[in-house]
């Protein structure tokens, strides 16, 4: 089967390249790749328990790949405009794809021609949550005199469902910006190798519903409804006692 051979060759090349750049032993990478996707090593750099130097190389490689994606996007979009959810999805994928260890909330601020004035990371959180301070989004928007903005964050779990908090946060941001005639064009969620656009799914609020509320807002990834495993309840009191000893 030619496809299988091609895939094996690709995996082999990938492993050798990773070894060359990070010094992670070839045998360790090969053993891991027998039952795992070797790309995990980039997305979850601690998975092979690397040494400090190997970890540093993995982080440098990820940082370079992210920069490469951003520069590639800019080269393909020389006017740096975002006119559709597809362009927004590609743009934010450059920043957030492969980020599996924490949630990051970003905003692109656009001028009247939908040209990007500035892209900013507003907050970084944990594995399945982050906190957004609408005041910080407002401050950045006014500082760069934007006419519209696009929100984005990643779901490290790869979940493609906007959580109820994602939808509430979007409404909250619309409530803040609508009275100022600054349009919220979209909220992009980067999930796995794809993205979801609230504008495309028709879930983007069009108008303010309430007076602006600037309180800090938590967003988290919605867990699938059909989970089989029961999550263990975490008895914090027991551990707190341990800490006190």
């Amino acid at each position: 089967m030619p496809t299988l051979h091609t895939n094996e060759k690709h995996a082999d090349d990938f492993i050798h390249s990773l070894h060359q750049l990070t010094n992670i032993p070839l045998r360790k990478l090969e053993r891991y790749s027998k039952s795992n996707q070797v790309i995990n090593v980039l997305e979850h750099p601690h998975v092979l328990e690397p040494t400090a130097t190997q970890l540093q190389k993995l982080e440098q490689l990820s940082a370079f790949l992210r920069s490469y994606r951003i520069v590639s996007w800019a080269a393909e979009n020389d006017k740096q405009t975002i006119r559709s959810p597809e362009q927004a999805g590609h743009f934010f994928t450059a920043y957030l794809e492969g980020m599996k260890d924490h949630e990051q909330f970003m905003v692109a601020f656009l001028d009247t021609n939908n040209r990007i004035i500035e892209t900013r990371t507003i907050s970084e959180g944990g594995l399945n949550y982050t906190f957004v301070h609408p005041r910080n989004v407002l401050k950045a928007a006014l500082n760069c005199d934007c006419a519209s903005l696009i929100l984005a964050h990643n779901h490290p779990s790869g979940s493609r469902n906007p959580s109820p908090e994602d939808l509430k946060l979007t409404q909250r941001i619309v409530d803040v910006f609508s009275p100022l005639d600054i349009q919220v064009l979209d909220h992009i969620i980067i999930a796995g190798n794809g993205y979801v656009s609230l504008a495309e799914t028709g879930s983007l609020p069009r108008a303010a519903e309430r007076p602006a509320n600037y309180e800090i807002f938590p967003i988290s990834v919605q867990e699938p409804q059909n989970r089989t495993y029961q999550q263990e309840s975490w008895n914090t009191a027991e551990y707190e006692e341990d800490w006190e000893r």
Binding site: Y68, A147, N193, S197
Partner: protein, 84 residues
Amino acid sequence: MNSKTIANKLAELIDANEKECASLEKMIEAHGVIGFFQHLHETTHFSTECLEKLRAVQVIIDQTLEISPLSLNGGIEYANPPYE
């Protein structure tokens, strides 16, 4: 993101020396970072070890970035804003 920033990141990754770092910057400025990798076979500015590492970076780029992100919904354009 300018050529210097991306050249520095690449230089750090491949442990390039000062001279090689300057060459990286010059070549990335001339060809862009995508063009740089396309012109890699023409270059004589790098040590064998550095060149091998650059080829390794190219393999990883080709294999991790070849897939375009998929929209999980349909395809639309943003409505013209009222200010236009």
